[in-house]
């Protein structure tokens, strides 16, 4: 059952007014303009035992993504494809309000939005992950681990997922006469085949303003958010309105303008980090 979340009623109203009066001047509390994401740091290969990994810092938000690749069974209706699974955990060390336990609706929504965007652009070449058609394929697990929450978990998570996938290696294996597959964890067949790259851009609606990459403070006073997935060609590859307010048609146009701009910043940071890596 989804439930209206509790927000302290008085304080945010004052804060919201203060924020809006800054927005009116095109400014934000952290000296950004309305349309620029925070500083982005992307470090890959941070978990050597994972097939791929990345730590993304988006301002003070930190998300760790780990890619594990294991042998499993394909879905019945796609016998000639590997499997991609995205899972997100909001571990309690990331925020005073996260509680231990199974993923809540926010963590589930995040994982599903990331998962759909990766899937719909065909980010991972699933056809290349077949070991024996209909029987044995590679399962690619993308685990998103939010470790410090200062707003905009979607964009940081997607960058981390993408950076981890782009640097992931496919393990080698041996096939026995019995048909059993043994994964050779220490040997690699080469990089995991990635066909497309996608980012998400989250904007928040605060009063009449649309701002990109909201901090936690801004999310708290925001009316609603829009998460737009965008591929290398600038196409829309997924979208999720999340939050309690509605949007006018005009606001949606504005969201697209802002998102397509910010997407370029994200793509640039990502490609630079990956180029540095090798």
């Amino acid at each position: 059952m989804s439930m209206t979340p509790f927000r302290v009623p008085v304080v945010p109203t004052l804060k919201k007014e203060a924020f809006i009066s800054l927005y009116r001047k095109g400014m934000r509390i952290d000296d950004r303009d309305l349309f620029t994401p925070r500083k982005i740091e992307i470090e890959t290969g941070v978990i050597e035992k994972a097939e791929g990994s990345a730590l993304v810092k988006l301002g003070n938000t930190k998300v760790l993504a780990g890619v594990k690749i294991e042998v499993g069974t394909p879905f019945k209706d796609t016998p000639n494809q590997g499997v991609l699974t995205v899972h997100a955990e909001f571990v309690p060390l990331a925020s005073p309000v996260f509680e231990p336990g199974p993923p809540d609706e926010n963590a589930i929504e995040l994982a599903r939005v990331i998962d759909r965007s990766l899937r719909e652009v065909g980010a991972v070449d699933l056809e290349s992950l077949v070991i024996r058609e209909g029987e044995k394929v590679w399962i690619v697990w993308v685990d998103l681990y939010v470790i410090d929450h200062d707003g905009n978990l979607f964009d940081a998570s997607m960058l981390a997922a993408m950076a981890a996938l782009r640097t992931a290696k496919l393990p080698d294996y041996e096939e026995y006469e019995t048909g059993e597959i043994e994964v050779l964890k220490d040997k690699s067949q080469g990089p995991l085949k990635i066909n497309h790259t996608v980012v998400t851009v989250t904007t928040a609606k605060v009063g009449d303003y649309i701002i990109v990459d909201p901090t936690l403070d801004e999310e708290t006073i925001a009316d609603s958010r829009m998460v737009v997935a965008i591929d290398e060609q600038g196409r829309i590859a997924g979208l999720q309105k999340t939050g309690e307010a509605g949007y006018t048609r005009e606001e949606i146009q504005k969201v697209f303008n802002i998102s397509q701009g910010a997407a370029k910043v994200y793509f640039k940071s990502l490609e630079e980090a990956l180029a540095r890596k090798g």
Binding site: M1, T4, E109, R116, D231, T242
Partner: protein, 242 residues
Amino acid sequence: MARKDDVTLFREDGTRLDGRRPDEMRPIKMEVGVLDNADGSALVEFGRTKVLAAVYGPREPVQKYIVIPDKAVLRVRYHMAPFSTSERKSPAPSRREVELSKVIREALEPVVLTDQFPRTAIDIFIEVLQADGGTRTTGLTAASLALADAGIPMRALVGGVAVGKIQGRLVLDIDEVEDNYAEADMPVGAAPDIGLITLFQINGVMTREEVMKGLDMALEAINRIVEMEKEVLKSKYMKVEV
């Protein structure tokens, strides 16, 4: 997930497999007050998709710690009956159902006047009885009717419909077969009387132009859906008056 390019989802005359034009909705049925215990209820059908919604409240929630001092808590459960799908669905809530419960709640938050009922809960239970595409938007429509039937004050009625992109073409109100082969699926919910889009998702790849065109198709259809809601509520109201 399957996207076989050898399947044709359009006939030679440009109509769809079930004979609809690209911008044509399936037959819609709406009925309110279908349950006795609930404070409000509605059964809505879009073609073979059937969704039942019931509203209880405003009421004091059993778990008192969930109340909010200055408004009512909206609680929404989107749930599929085990027999609603082709393969039996396990009754335990899936991750998909958890997400859609949230998406539908957030599509209702902008229209329910929750600040009139502080410290209470308004519970909206949506049961998909038969799933043939568009269950979340049909559920949103049913929830809107059930809230109105329960006499919960609302800024405006909401309705929803999904637009699909199939073989490069935009089509309104896609059904399950179409959804299985669609390049993109875009559910939209809106409250036309206050000009707000309150549910908006895209699953798939579209150009920005396609999105805006599809959004306009959806909004135009939602206008008609909300008009139907008003008719149904009016006729029930009139019946009561007689």
